[in-house]
């Protein structure tokens, strides 16, 4: 397959890819406008390309990328559902995409109303009282949630020292606690893959600020004892944080706010179908119970009569976690998604997501080891235990799936399952697609026995074959440095 040279190895001296507006003011020399010591004369190595070269370059790159529009993308816990096209149209309306964050409130009533309403929607689906739309991503939402808990506990006289985190939690949970100055104490899951109230009770004392729970958890299982756990934590004055990354599995059916959760974050790019852009932007609003609301970041949108206003005046606020009001263009898409589905549609999302995941689980459990053989929610977790005797590991299975035209599932996560493969089909995949995926997985299980080398050496049909990640880490090459490095 063709190799696409870097931008810096293409083009020719003097080429420019766009026309700038004409200069209709006096064309003073830069030396007359700025002192010499502040001036820059050139950026050596910077691209010099025509428009068509740029267009072809990035079009070719796009063709070597796999997205939800390209095919099935069952990346567990990432919820790669279809991104509705109408949403891409509406956020680009000039009133949204060309509005400046500092324009007067009177000139931004539509944007503020949208934010106000989205807060109400998210509060309703989660059972929380308030929602901060500010965090730019789930991990930032987690961090903000823990900051709010800390601020609340501080206001009660003691921020406490420790946060309990189950071993099945998301990778960022412990880091988000640490960044808020907490020590992390890991809690072992029970044998059924769920949180054990006794383990929490044993670890819980007046030094524990909070517990962070993912529900449904990263095994795709509902934490059925969450209400009991919340009672135990609350009894000792602690708070319950819920990682809402998997909210899509229960939306319209059950609400974290009714389970005793005090704070949770939403991943709008997961549950509410905002496209993820190859790693962002997303958006990670945080839902709160009323006692945490005084600490929310500023500003908050409020309604005064018929007008929407931004309120900066929250004396106990933790401040801000980013500029302006959050990833607004992501908020517009999530709002549009909720409006187009309505209450019944959102409930149907959870039902079909769960049916799809259980269907895959039921069809593959005779071929792959299933460590927790229970009905799952939105995702199921297999391991490579049956293929290991043939020398085929999870990574090999993942790479071989590419040859069948599928994006692999999440692998080696959750950490509590050795060689995990975490499959999340979402509700936007048809039975036919699932059947094709199931057939490919069965085929690979068979290949692993018959011709393990075929699987171990996969992928065979992608632009590049397996990449040397060890070399990338040992001899980091993180930027182009001149023509010679391109030909190495």
């Amino acid at each position: 397959m063709m190799h696409e040279p870097l931008l810096f190895d293409q083009g020719s001296r003097g080429r420019v890819g766009c026309t700038l507006p004409e200069c209709d003011v006096p064309e003073l020399k830069p030396e007359r406008l700025l002192p010499k010591k502040l001036l820059r004369h050139d950026i050596p190595g910077f691209p010099e390309l025509s428009e068509v070269e740029v267009v072809r370059h990035f079009t070719r790159l796009s063709q070597w990328n796999y997205g939800v529009d390209t095919g099935f993308y069952p990346l567990g816990s990432c919820t790669m559902k279809y991104n509705p096209k109408i949403n891409e149209e509406v956020w680009r309306l000039p009133g949204f995409s060309h509005a400046h964050p500092y324009q007067p409130e009177s000139l931004a009533q539509g944007a503020l109303e949208l934010m106000y309403e989205l807060e109400q929607f998210l509060a309703e689906v989660s059972g929380m009282d308030r929602v901060s739309l500010q965090p730019a991503a789930g991990a930032q939402g987690e961090m903000l949630g823990m900051m709010l808990i800390r601020a609340y506990l501080e206001s009660k006289g003691n921020p406490r020292k420790r946060v309990l985190v189950p071993d099945s939690s998301h990778g960022t949970n412990p880091a988000s606690s640490a960044i808020c100055g907490y020590e992390v104490l890991q809690i072992k899951s029970g044998p059924n893959g769920r949180l054990d109230p006794k383990a929490v009770a044993d670890a819980m004392n007046e030094d524990v600020a909070a517990i962070m729970i993912t529900n449904p958890n990263t095994l795709g299982l509902f934490e059925d004892q969450i209400a009991e756990v919340a009672k135990i934590v609350h009894a000792k004055g602690g708070q319950v944080y819920c990682d809402g990354a998997n909210l899509n599995a229960i939306i319209g059916i059950s609400r974290p706010g009714d389970m005793g959760v005090d704070a949770l974050h939403f991943n709008l790019h997961k549950t509410f179908a905002v496209p993820h852009g190859g790693g962002g932007p997303g958006a990670g609003p945080v839902g709160l119970k009323a006692h945490l609301a005084p600490f929310m970041p500023i500003p908050v949108v409020e309604k005064k009569g018929k007008r929407f206003v931004l309120n900066d005046d929250l004396p106990l606020s933790v401040g801000r976690v980013r500029t302006f009001y959050g990833n607004f263009a992501a908020l517009v898409r999530a709002y549009a998604y909720i409006r187009s589905l309505g209450p019944s549609g959102l409930r149907r999302v959870a039902e079909v997501a769960v049916i799809n995941a259980n269907y895959i689980m039921s069809q593959l459990k005779d071929y792959y080891h299933l460590p927790y053989d229970k009905h799952c929610k939105h995702e199921c977790v297999f391991s490579d235990a049956r293929q290991l005797p043939y020398g085929v590991q999870t990574l090999d299975i993942a790479k071989r799936l590419m040859d069948y035209g599928f994006h692999p599932p999440t692998i080696y996560f959750p950490l509590i399952v050795k060689g995990a493969m975490m499959i999340e089909p979402t509700e936007t995949e048809s039975k036919e697609t699932l059947d094709q995926f199931i057939a490919a997985m069965k085929q690979i299980a068979e290949e692993a026995e018959r011709d393990p080398e075929l699987v171990r050496s996969a992928p065979h049909k992608t632009k590049v074959s397996r990449l040397d990640e060890a070399k990338a880490a040992r001899q980091p090459n993180l930027r182009w440095k001149g023509k010679e490095s391109a030909t190495e």
Partner: protein
């Protein structure tokens, strides 16, 4: 049902294959007392037509910079975006992809990020850049945390001339880790007070932060601040909110910066009422293992062909996750792609031309406004495309109202951030503002004499 392909019959067939009678059974693990016994209290679904109409109505209640000439800046800039940027960024192979965890299927995203990292290094004059951060303010906060990781010190000098919201974000991040921020004032020139910076320095100082052009649009003397910071064994963190300035202003790397962060929205990203934006993050090579966020590296595949992967990911939450000092895992991939495409189109000559255009138009506007009666320019420092105007005998809000009556969106009223500057406006002029618009601005500002 919208966006759900499976019919009732499909679901029936799947439920049979699973071996359950209904989907209810799949939710039997949720205790009945935790189930919602009613429908969600949300408006009924809208058709696509209905949704489009409703969204147009909402969007129509906002003013936008296509409709009105605008002189707002302050961390969000109205720049020209070539049509090719949207066409490429909206290729769904880019925007419907996830994080490139499987490099063989993500070479497009990965190569584009590698190119982005290179462009950021070239712009900032630094040696290494990451795959992007949430926005300029959180990038600055992470830079302060990184400086602490590097030298273990706990005090940060944070000038008042840094964007007020960036400072608030720093305070939010820093307070939980026990970092202390020293705010230092600005001079009559509108620059950070070097003497005060020197006075605040000690062997406890981890880093000196400086924004250039600063919040008042004034360019700072980075060399002097770098020298001062380094003489105390501290790092210099430079933050740039308006990166178009990189086209004409000496790079922070050349001036001795150790970490350079900022906001990349100006390149290829719409104003979007404040987000999503693009935090960029660059540093000296020596600090790469303390750097937060993702990095893309070049490597080769089994046949020796070049390829790209996420790399050095063991730095953060992946190992000893309870000891992690940063929880960053996402980046702003699509925003970084937009910037990469935009910068490729501008190129070496275009970026300089664009920066010069901003500089010239702003000089023209400054000259015209300072000639008006009732206004003065309080700060004498050199500016790029923003400047502060003092309004005499009227409130800045009155000026803005008068401007909007003429269909012009005026400047940011500085009183909301700096009580002592409550008689001042911050105006921004970019290549999007024609001479006619600038003349109309001056005419409308002068009208109230």
């Amino acid at each position: 049902m919208q966006y759900i392909p499976n019919t009732e019959a499909d679901c029936r067939a799947m439920l049979d294959a699973i071996g359950v009678r209904s989907s209810e059974e799949l939710f039997a693990d949720i205790p009945s007392k935790l189930k919602l016994k009613r429908g969600l209290n949300l408006a009924p679904p809208l058709s696509e037509t209905g949704l489009r109409r409703h969204m147009k109505e909402l969007a129509g209640r906002n003013a936008d910079v296509e409709q009105y000439p605008s002189f707002l800046g302050a961390g969000a800039y109205n720049h020209f975006i070539p049509a090719a940027v949207s066409h490429l960024v909206f290729r769904s192979e880019f925007y419907t992809a996830y994080t490139p965890y499987q490099p063989e299927l993500s070479q497009g995203t990965l190569q584009a990020i590698y190119e982005y990292q290179t462009l950021i290094c070239q712009l900032t004059g630094m040696e290494v850049a990451n795959a992007s951060m949430y926005d300029g303010s959180s990038a600055l906060a992470e830079a302060a945390l990184m400086a602490h990781r590097i030298n273990g010190r706990r005090e940060v000098v944070l000038p008042m001339a840094v964007h007020p919201e960036y400072r608030t974000v720093c305070r939010t991040y820093a307070s939980k880790l026990g970092l202390h921020l020293h705010e230092v004032p600005y001079t009559d020139e509108g620059t950070t007070d070097l003497k005060q910076v020197k006075g605040a320095l000690s062997d406890r100082t981890s880093a000196v932060v400086v924004q250039s052009p600063n919040f008042f649009g004034v360019l700072e003397s980075l060399d002097e601040l770098a020298e001062a910071a380094h003489s105390a064994g501290a790092l210099l963190i430079v933050v740039v909110a308006e990166p178009v300035s990189f086209g004409i202003v000496r790079s922070p790397g050349e001036c001795g910066a150790d970490i350079v962060v900022g906001e990349g929205q100006a390149f290829g990203n719409h104003l979007n009422f404040g987000g999503p934006y693009l935090g960029f993050f660059a540093s000296k090579q020596a600090y790469v293992r303390s750097m937060p966020g993702r990095l893309v590296g070049r490597t080769e595949d089994k046949s020796g062909r070049p390829g790209y992967v996420l790399t050095l990911s063991t730095r953060e939450q992946h190992i000893r996750r309870e000891k992690a000092t940063s929880n960053i895992c996402t980046n702003e991939g699509l925003c970084a792609l937009a910037a990469t495409v935009h910068l490729s189109l501008l190129g070496r000559a275009g970026l300089r031309e664009l920066a010069l255009l901003n500089l010239r138009k702003t000089a023209y506007a400054k000259g015209a406004i300072s000639a008006l009666r009732g206004y003065e320019l309080p700060f004498a420092g050199h500016t790029f495309n923003e400047f502060v105007v003092r309004v005499k005998r009227r409130a800045p809000a009155q000026v803005n109202r008068a401007l909007f009556a003429k269909g012009i969106i005026g400047g940011v009223e500085l009183g909301r951030f700096y009580p002592e500057l409550s008689d001042c406006l911050l105006l921004c002029v970019t290549e999007q503002n024609s001479r006619e618009e600038i003349d109309a601005l001056c005419k409308a500002m002068g009208g109230g004499r």
